[in-house]
């Protein structure tokens, strides 16, 4: 049987970070929580076969699950970005709402590529590994996604003045 203690410790320690990724992938806090719990549940079944750090493995499940969720859960997804309450003293970015909406208009696979590459700052190789695809696919999906964002009217002129890392 998998080690329940190690699994529990992982869930407690790494859920906040994983939830952030899930939120960017789903743009909905409730869906994000659902996605995270789904990924953790799937991971539990393979827990004792994971060699080394389990987080990449769980992240991969997170990403692939978000891409494959298109039917029933898709209908629950909102088109308006949720803007969480800012922490005391923190000012939310002024254009984050537009960005979240633009992100939501991308196909899921392209959205996942952008989140992993430019929000989480992962390499193309890491992104490919997490998505279970080739580096070439990551490049092409990334290129298409960025082109769509550049052309997204909601981002407007200010977007052209920003640059991806």
């Amino acid at each position: 049987m998998p080690s329940d203690v190690e699994f529990d410790e992982f869930v407690v320690a790494r859920s906040p970070a994983l939830l952030r990724t899930a939120y960017l992938l789903t743009r909905d806090p409730q869906l994000a929580e659902d996605l995270l719990q789904t990924a953790l549940t799937k991971a539990w079944f393979a827990w004792n076969r994971i060699d080394g750090d389990p987080e990449p493995y769980v992240r991969r499940i997170l990403v692939t699950s978000s891409v494959s969720w298109w039917r029933k859960r898709w209908t629950h997804e909102t088109t308006t970005a949720f803007v969480p309450e800012p922490a005391p003293g923190a000012e939310p970015p002024v254009d984050v709402h537009d960005l979240m909406q633009a992100l939501g208009r991308l196909p899921r696979r392209q959205r996942a590529v952008l989140v992993l590459r430019y929000v989480e700052d992962r390499t193309e190789a890491d992104t490919a590994a997490l998505m279970g695809c080739s580096v070439g696919t990551v490049k092409s999906q990334c290129s298409k996604a960025l082109a769509k964002l550049r052309a997204d009217a909601a981002l407007g002129a200010p977007a052209d003045e920003r640059s991806a890392r």
């Binding site: 806090p29 939310p92 929000v119 989480e120």
Partner: protein
């Protein structure tokens, strides 16, 4: 020039990630998932047992049966009565059997009902496996599990067999046993050390049992069943009491002779193209039509009968139920099956206890309401424990 997405990271960081109840919710999901996968997961003991036998088979040159398997006789198998439990009572056709304690699991063979009874709060451990033919109740074996985790018992789609993960022996090893419920005898038993890896039982029939060994595939998850479609599958031949590995194509061929096998779509994707047997199909309701979903219950899929290749389509009478989700429970005969209809409590893929029971005819696609559920009445059904 690319848009700057870095504000999204800050935005995401504001989401609350510290929910104290999350761990409990994840464990609850694990319990539900284990129930759903009960049919597919056997203990590491079974894996090791299978591996040992296969290794022995390889060593002795008794592997890769390449000759044609006898095609199964298409004669109609005997019908099984609708079976379910409510509380302490098993309903087996028109018989009601009070077994004295809450039924947490049941499954059906041609001879009767195998079940586990214990309190809902029961902890994981070795549990007596009981059997009733509708008149008497006797202990038929031991299995491992709990109400939350499910039990590792699987019945053949037709015939008399049960595949059971047995109790620990004095050395801490578990047995993988096959029981014939016609006479209560164990017809096959293997013991091996606990290896820590799940074997995935693909299908259990009256003359053969198939399973895959995830460690021998590129699969990450035992639950990723389609990924298990890789090179070969392990086959236990009941009549010969022998185990050998056979190519997937042979498994496909055998499935096409099985009237009670439903397969998913041929995705044509690695590791090998082809269909895959679905032992607990799930349907979403759209109007009066039932839309088949994939194994995870998230993606629309086309299901078909393995034997004929005909697509399976079901519909329910208008206003027959308010349920939104239908799950396979049991075959009654080669053409009729039982679906449990419920309203998904979370909008996801969790199984509810309250709902309606429908009987559907595969040939016509028509489903009729067999038993309307009542608020507060929790059903225990085969394959949906």
């Amino acid at each position: 020039v690319n848009p700057d997405l870095s504000p999204l990271a800050q935005h995401a960081s504001l989401i609350d990630g510290h929910r104290p109840e999350r761990l409990a919710e994840v464990h609850e999901r694990i319990g539900v998932a284990r129930k759903r996968r009960r049919r597919s997961a056997l203990s590491a003991a079974a894996v090791a047992a299978a591996a040992v036998v296969v290794v022995v088979a390889v060593a002795t040159g008794v592997t890769e049966q390449r000759g044609a398997e006898p095609v199964k006789n298409p004669d109609v198998a005997p019908a099984r009565p609708l079976t379910y439990a409510v509380g302490d009572t098993i309903h087996y056709g028109d018989r009601s059997i009070d077994v004295g304690e809450e039924v947490q699991f049941l499954t059906v063979t041609d001879d009767g009902v195998a079940f586990v009874r214990e309190p809902l709060s029961g902890q994981p451990g070795d549990k007596p496996l009981w059997f009733t033919d509708g008149s008497t109740v006797e202990r038929i074996g031991t299995t491992f599990g709990s109400p939350a985790r499910g039990y590792l018992v699987e019945a053949s789609d037709a015939g008399s067999l049960l595949v059971v993960r047995d109790a620990d022996d004095e050395m801490g090893r578990r047995d993988f046993v096959v029981i014939d419920t016609g006479n209560g005898e164990v017809i096959h038993r293997d013991s091996a050390e606990f290896g820590g890896t799940d074997v995935v039982v693909l299908s259990v029939h009256d003359d053969a049992i198939y399973w895959a060994y995830p460690a021998d595939t590129p699969c990450d998850l035992a639950g990723d069943r389609e990924c298990l479609r890789y090179r070969w599958v392990v086959r236990y031949d009941v009549a010969a009491d022998s185990i050998a590995r056979v190519p997937w194509a042979r498994y496909d061929e055998d499935l096409r002779s099985r009237p009670r096998t439903i397969v998913g779509p041929d995705r044509g994707t690695p590791p090998a193209p082809g269909t895959f047997p679905l032992d607990d199909p799930v349907f979403a309701r759209e109007g009066t039509d039932l839309i088949a979903l994939d194994y995870d219950g998230a993606i629309e899929a086309t299901l078909s009968r393995a034997r004929t290749g005909e697509p399976i389509r079901f519909r329910v009478p208008e206003a027959a139920t308010e349920a939104t989700r239908f799950e396979f429970s049991q075959w009654l005969d080669d053409d009729r099956l039982v679906l449990f209809a419920y309203t998904d409590p979370y909008g996801g893929s969790e199984v509810a206890d309250e709902g309606d029971i429908f009987v559907c005819v595969v040939a016509t696609g028509n489903c009729r309401l067999e038993l309307r559920g009542q608020a507060g009445t929790a059903y225990q059904l085969p394959a949906l424990d």
